[in-house]
Symmetry: C2
Subunit: 431 residues, 2 copies
């Protein structure tokens, strides 16, 4: 993805909003190098990840046909694990970090798939244990971000893998079949129920499959409480789920934006407790725009310490390009400048610089037209640039103690006393 400046401004606004919300909850920034040692990066991977990795070699190494020692990160989780393991004794636990960086996947370039894209992650990492209370903070962060970004109504779905596991156990489904069953469960609401039920029935009986799917699609806490027999996982998962729900409401998230959804399983075995997904109400086909969950151990490959955590990730590049295509992101701000000082009379060029300096010192982003073109051409530049205010100041204005402002979007001019310039431009730009 390579953007023109107007789109880049919109994208930057999105990243800034995400970052501000991460910091609003006191998360700490880190950045890790784009290179990781190949051995570190591929520790966890099965074959699939390995296929998608970009290996890196300097010219010298390439000539010697060495095996590449470095590769580009493909997510922010492996670098986080390596970072926490490496700096374990210098960090304050629970370690709350955010990370907004690009990641790389060796994919064929095609629509909706990027070889390079931004991920925006937060994680809270505990040492040995991580109190459950941190699980409730995550949906509040998600809510803060997507309310401010204003892409339209959205719902944060929460569920609990412990609860699902307890339920499958109670229904007598063998542990080695859980992954397959949960993969099917994850398709509920997206694909045909009868088909899903048939596949689940293949792992148990038609009766149990029906009972399971009825319970999961009912989304009723009462029905869950009435379910028997409840084993330890079931009870703890249910308690956690209810606790995340009520705590998130206490953090100011409205019930309209937060739903328990028992069919959210999140494919990965990685998650062990609370899980999160987020959907734009009017655009369910985009899939989850922000997902995550609780996991038992971040960095077992890199340290003997047990590091449980909870976190979420936003794939900002993909989301941005989808929303741009849907018209939900407008790139109507085309410039960082609030004002453009035109060159009305070249002899007065130092006056223009003084005016620009005045505006900039007052926090107004200001550009000065550097050429000596006719005013018509200068106005055309101003128009294309999309600058809110053009400033015209010639000897006539100077002698009258005034200054002329052109408000481009309203296509009108006004004269203001020279001394009121800054205040007036601030007012026009609502600063």
């Amino acid at each position: 993805m390579e953007l023109l400046p107007a789109q880049q401004i919109a994208f930057q606004h999105m990243l800034d909003t995400i970052r501000a919300n991460f910091e609003r909850f006191g998360f700490l920034p880190i950045e890790t190098p784009v290179f990781e040692l190949t051995d570190v990066l591929l520790t966890k991977s099965g074959g699939e990840t390995e296929k998608q990795v970009y290996f890196v070699q300097s010219t010298g190494a390439l000539e010697q046909a060495k095996k590449p020692e470095l590769a580009l990160r493909f997510d922010l989780t492996v670098p986080l694990a390596r970072y926490v393991a490496e700096h374990e004794h210098e960090l304050n636990f629970p370690f709350r970090r955010y990370q907004i960086q690009r990641v790389y996947r060796g994919e064929r370039a095609q629509k909706g798939r990027y070889r390079e894209f931004y991920q925006c992650d937060i994680d809270v990492i505990g040492k040995d244990t991580l109190p459950f209370a941190y699980d409730a903070e995550v949906p509040a962060v998600i809510y803060g971000i997507f309310s401010q970004l204003a892409f339209g109504p959205f719902t944060i779905y929460i569920n609990n893998r412990k609860l699902l596991r307890g339920l499958l156990e109670s229904l007598g489904i063998a542990a080695e079949k859980h992954a397959d069953v949960l993969n099917q469960v994850d398709r509920l609401g997206k694909q045909d129920r009868a088909e899903i039920e048939a596949k689940v029935a293949g792992h148990t009986s038609p009766e149990v499959a029906k009972q399971l799917l009825d319970l999961l699609t009912a989304n009723s806490l009462d029905a869950l409480h009435a379910f028997e027999p409840q084993n330890a996982n079931f009870k703890e998962g249910l308690r956690e789920l209810e606790d995340v729900y009520t705590s998130t409401l206490a953090l100011g998230v409205p019930t309209t934006s937060l739903h328990i959804n028992l069919a959210i399983a999140r494919g990965l075995d990685y998650y062990t407790g609370t899980v999160y997904e987020t959907f734009l109400t009017d655009h369910p086909k985009l899939g989850s725009i922000c997902s995550g969950g609780r996991y038992d151990d971040l960095a077992s490959h890199y340290t003997k310490s047990k590091l449980p955590g909870v976190g979420i990730s936003i794939g900002a590049t993909r989301l941005f390009s989808q929303l741009l295509e849907l018209g939900l992101i407008k790139s109507d701000v085309k410039t960082t400048a609030h004002a453009l000082v035109l060159n009305v009379e070249t002899a007065m060029s130092h006056d223009y610089l003084t005016i620009a300096n005045e505006l900039r010192s007052a926090g107004l982003n200001t550009e000065v037209y550097g050429g000596t073109d006719k005013l018509g051409k200068q106005m055309k530049y101003a128009d294309r640039a999309g600058v809110p205010v053009a400033i015209l100041y010639g000897s006539r204005e100077r002698d009258g103690g005034a200054i002329k402002l052109k408000i481009l979007r309203e296509n009108r001019e006004e004269d203001v006393p020279r001394s009121e310039l800054v205040a007036r431009v601030r007012a026009i730009c609502s600063i």
Copy 2:
């Protein structure tokens, strides 16, 4: 360079300040992909650059032992040239862009050399021509950045390559010797003058070498005006140099921070007019911390259009690590949080979430302690985290309508009415 969170906060502050100043002058953001086609990237290079490039291959390509098609950018100038050539018809000229991204050099890791580092660049690119007025804006941007970053006193040096060329021509030094002579000139003030003079004399005569170096080290505009014979390059260069100087002063840069320095030549042939360097007055050994200049044509390899420009670059990663070592950058802000709500009584946990939500809604970054540890351990966490204010609220405070604040850096507590909490925390954090 991989930083701990407190240092990362300081580094982020540096990048934010640079970006804010770029935008203060109405520069537009762009980002380009980290990958460029190898053919594009190596167009300009001699052998030296090629040695320093990182080539990139996905697993599949590597297995087939193909020649790498992609490489990582080694600066932001080549990507800019490619970007402007590619999007020429969609951009508004003069195109004023800023770009803050990492670049990659295949160097051996060693102190002060990074394989991955941030560059922060601005350039104004004209189509066919670029008015000279833009040259005067650049030192004002530099001044804005380094005043705000407050690393101590600094000087922006300006010079003009046209003036130098005219001078060498007038002194009868052959054109093919200019590059060598200017390389020597660039060493003035850094190395022994006698040695430099001897080397210059090798390209001309001892008398001319002396005359040249006397003139360049005198830094006297009067002496330059008195110099004879003045050819066209000399005259135009001198006029431009004086114009940049007076215009920059009109933009509010004080004479203490802006010096004409005729010995600044900037090795590269690339620059053709104004050149800039910036030195920290108390740390000249760091070399120039922000350099650049005017060039005739940005993208002759990629387009037939002539694209003259003027720009500067800051190598942020190297600068940051040097200043950190010198103690000029303090990483004493260790957290993004203004307040930490402690868990005084677990039964009141929803009250803590409500308090956090109140503070966050008022723009205060707030963390909630998630564990049920004893208060002593919680305070220890607060201390290590470096959070300004810890908030203690138990049933005793609740019944009295008050709330207890601990201001950690002053090691004192105060009770405030519950209703004044937000205002008081804002005041303590000077927000």
